[in-house]
């Protein structure tokens, strides 16, 4: 069975352009999609692509460790949201919801609009309604792609190629936009980790100290733990004890 560094090496056929495109897609998914499963999966994909890029820039075992840390972060966030959704599987109908007084069509439509659509889009009570529309967020993503591409030309990052510099700027900018547009702890956390992934792509190639790299990874994991605590605190009801 191949080890993780070997696995990363075997994926060497994926070009930098393809990796950059994948990062464009994953961060855009996190920015656009409200569903928590899709968002966490996109973050995991982001960590895998970042690990792949890093495996060509630094020692493969360091890239593998980064990938493992990312996987653990996704797992921590997944378990936290899962805990909340299992304990409170709510998209409850309002108290004044009065089915018998409406026509059949209106009733079906209300059930779909109140229960089914929010569930698909992830707009349950644990995350609330998004403050901005999809079009706005998509345009914001496009704008950030443009800014990232421009920045990587005007402010090149030492020792990094154009594609990877674009990836660094893109992840940092997209993460900041996600942070700005979301109050929900999960989405804000995904934004924060998107920023961190971009920073990792740059910093890991610069810093030779294993101690700092290790401490940075530990800090990432601790941030994920603190965020999971906040996710659970937000999802819990007054009867619960933290």
């Amino acid at each position: 069975m191949p080890t993780l560094p070997e696995l990363l090496r075997q994926l060497g056929f994926i070009s930098q352009e393809a990796a950059l495109l994948a990062l464009f897609i994953t961060a855009t998914i996190i920015l656009l999609i409200r569903d928590w499963r899709a968002s966490i999966l996109a973050l995991l994909g982001q960590y895998i692509v970042a690990g792949l890029i890093l495996s060509r820039l630094v020692r493969p075992d360091i890239a593998a460790v980064k990938l493992m840390i990312g996987t653990f972060i996704c797992l921590i966030l997944f378990l936290a949201v899962r805990q909340v959704t299992i304990a409170f599987p709510v998209v409850s109908l309002p108290d004044d919801y009065d089915l018998p007084s409406r026509s059949l069509f209106v009733n079906y439509w209300r059930v779909i609009s109140i229960k089914v659509l929010p569930a698909l889009l992830g707009q349950d009570r644990h995350r609330g309604l998004p403050p901005t529309g999809y079009i706005f967020r998509f345009l914001a993503a496009l704008l950030m792609m443009l800014v990232a591409t421009t920045m990587s030309r005007t402010i090149p990052l030492s020792s990094l190629s154009f594609n990877i510099a674009t990836a660094v700027y893109w992840l940092a900018l997209a993460g900041l936009v996600i942070l700005t547009l979301n109050e929900d702890p999960l989405k804000a956390g995904l934004g924060l980790f998107t920023v961190f992934t971009g920073f990792d792509l740059f910093y890991t190639t610069l810093e030779p100290s294993l101690l700092l790299t290790g401490l940075w990874g530990t800090a990432n994991l601790l941030v994920a733990l603190a965020l999971s605590y906040l996710i659970i605190a937000k999802g819990a009801t007054p009867g619960e004890e933290l």
């Binding site: 702890p185 924060l192 910093y203 100290s209 401490l215 941030v223 603190a226 906040l230 605190a233 933290l242």
Partner: protein, 475 residues
């Protein structure tokens, strides 16, 4: 051989599990306070200047670290004692009426978590490498998230903001640290563009740590949502370590000061923060808001002191941090006592007439606020007057703006004090309680210290001067 300064890190970490075990009984708070006080004594007694290594990187208990650690430990011990003084009162007298966690708000895990956070902050204060310091402060911040949130479920805004802003500062500091390492190892002078970039990264990082406008959200949210004791812990200990790190960075990398933008940026950021904090304090309608915005005003003032530099910048900066710790602890003791009147909401309207049963708490609140504002007869006046004189020499309009902001803080606290005064129509429902004896003692002692130091400022400045020696910022 284990260096003596190592015990300053080990003591809080070692005591945290013991305190956690006893968290449900009063012993936990007492043990935590004793450990913090002993650590403060130890920090004062240990010889300075002895180098050692922490995680393979240089560490040292320097004069500035020593002052910071004494401040950190003493303030934390006082907060533990204040918290422990209110809990028996609630448990004994009003057990069925009010949940202790709602009033003192700190929650049972406050003591062990604070010790854990303190352990990281002590390690950060001793570490001489900016990257390690930043990560350790980040870890302390992660512990602080649990302290801010406590056992509340209503809102996570404060804890989330704090976590995100502290976390966002980490990449910036790591990049600055890498650049500093590269320059120091190569022995080359940084190019002007590189210098500006490094200064910009460091500036944004410190702006996040020091709640400079527009990154001030975590300060006001923390005072609004967390208990007064938890909020004061966060508002006192993190800025102390932030200013210590800033001083050490400027002293060790004097070339960074060649970036004129950094110095201008520090003064301007401090002025904007102090002005916003001061003016908004005047319009607050609750005591938590007063505390948050006046703390913001004070942070801005201290940042200006460091930004203006000069031979006395370090002395006056650390004196300002001491004053901040004193004033905020006094305000916390007073607000904690006032909240025992039975309302979890500390809006002025809810506390109307509370000065009748709790005159000391009302006076303590006003005294603490006036000290932060820099009113005459308090230690704050000496420091603010010195700051205004220095700032007037740099930018006269800035000094006027800062004085007006200080006036805003005075107005805010006078409004709060007025709301506490009993009116003829005041008929508060239910029983009225006096301050618990220990809290009253704390308020009298802390208020007295603010006044005595105001009358005889050398009692604070002389020992600080002796500890600091000839150290000065290269600004």
């Amino acid at each position: 051989m284990i260096p003596a300064a190592f015990w300053l890190i080990a003591l809080p970490f070692g005591a945290a599990p013991v305190v956690y075990f006893f968290r449900r009984v009063g012993v936990g708070a007492i043990v935590a306070a004793v450990v913090a006080l002993f650590s403060a004594w130890l920090a004062l007694r240990l010889p300075v200047g002895l180098g050692w290594r922490i995680l393979g990187r240089p560490a040292e208990l320097g004069p500035l670290s020593q002052i910071s650690l004494v401040l950190l430990f003493t303030t934390t011990a006082l907060l533990f004692l204040i918290s422990s003084a209110t809990v028996p009162f609630i448990a004994g007298v009003r057990k069925k009426v009010i949940d202790a966690d709602v009033l003192t708000g700190a929650g049972r895990t406050f003591y062990p978590l604070s010790l854990g956070s303190l352990g990281f902050l002590v390690a950060a204060s001793l570490a001489q490498h900016l990257g390690i310091t930043a990560i350790l402060v980040g870890m302390a911040g992660i512990f602080a998230v649990f302290i801010i949130q406590g056992s509340r479920l209503e809102s996570i805004r404060a804890a989330q903001r704090f976590l995100i802003l502290i976390s966002l500062s980490l990449p910036l500091f790591l990049l600055v640290s890498w650049r500093i390492d590269v320059y120091q190892l190569s022995g080359l002078r940084p190019l002007p563009r590189s210098l500006q970039e490094t200064a910009l990264l460091a500036g944004i990082g410190f702006a996040l740590w020091l709640a400079v406008v527009p990154f001030h959200g975590w300060v006001t949210a923390t005072t609004a949502e967390a208990s007064p004791i938890s909020a004061t812990f966060i508002l006192v200990v993190f800025p102390i370590v932030a200013f210590l790190t800033l001083s050490q960075m400027l002293i060790k990398t004097p070339w960074l000061v060649q970036s004129s933008q950094l110095v201008w940026g520090m003064v301007l950021a401090g002025l904007v923060t102090a002005s916003l904090g001061g003016f908004l304090t005047a319009f607050q309608r609750g005591f938590s808001g007063l505390m948050g915005y006046s703390a913001l005003y004070d942070l801005g003032c201290t940042l200006i002191i460091f930004g203006l530099g000069g031979p006395t910048a370090i002395l006056m900066g650390f004196a300002a941090l001491t004053m901040r710790a004193l004033a905020l602890t006094l305000i916390t003791a007073s607000v904690s006592a006032l909240r025992l009147q039975g309302t979890a909401d500390d809006a002025f309207a809810q506390m109307a007439g509370a000065a009748r049963p709790m005159p000391l708490a009302a006076a303590g609140l006003l005294g603490g606020g006036l000290t932060l504002a820099g009113a005459p007869l308090t230690i704050g006046f000496v420091l603010r007057w010195h700051l205004l004189q220095n700032l007037a020499g740099f930018e006269a309009s800035g000094a006027i703006l800062l004085a007006l902001a200080g006036l805003g803080v005075v107005i805010g606290y006078l409004r709060g004090f007025r709301a506490l005064l009993p009116t003829p129509a005041d008929k508060r429902p239910g029983p009225q309680f006096q301050e618990p004896l220990l809290i009253a003692v704390f308020i009298v002692v802390l208020g007295g210290v603010c006044l005595v130091l105001g009358l005889f400022p050398d009692m604070l400045l002389a020992p600080l001067r002796e500890l600091i020696g000839g150290m000065s910022l290269p600004i």
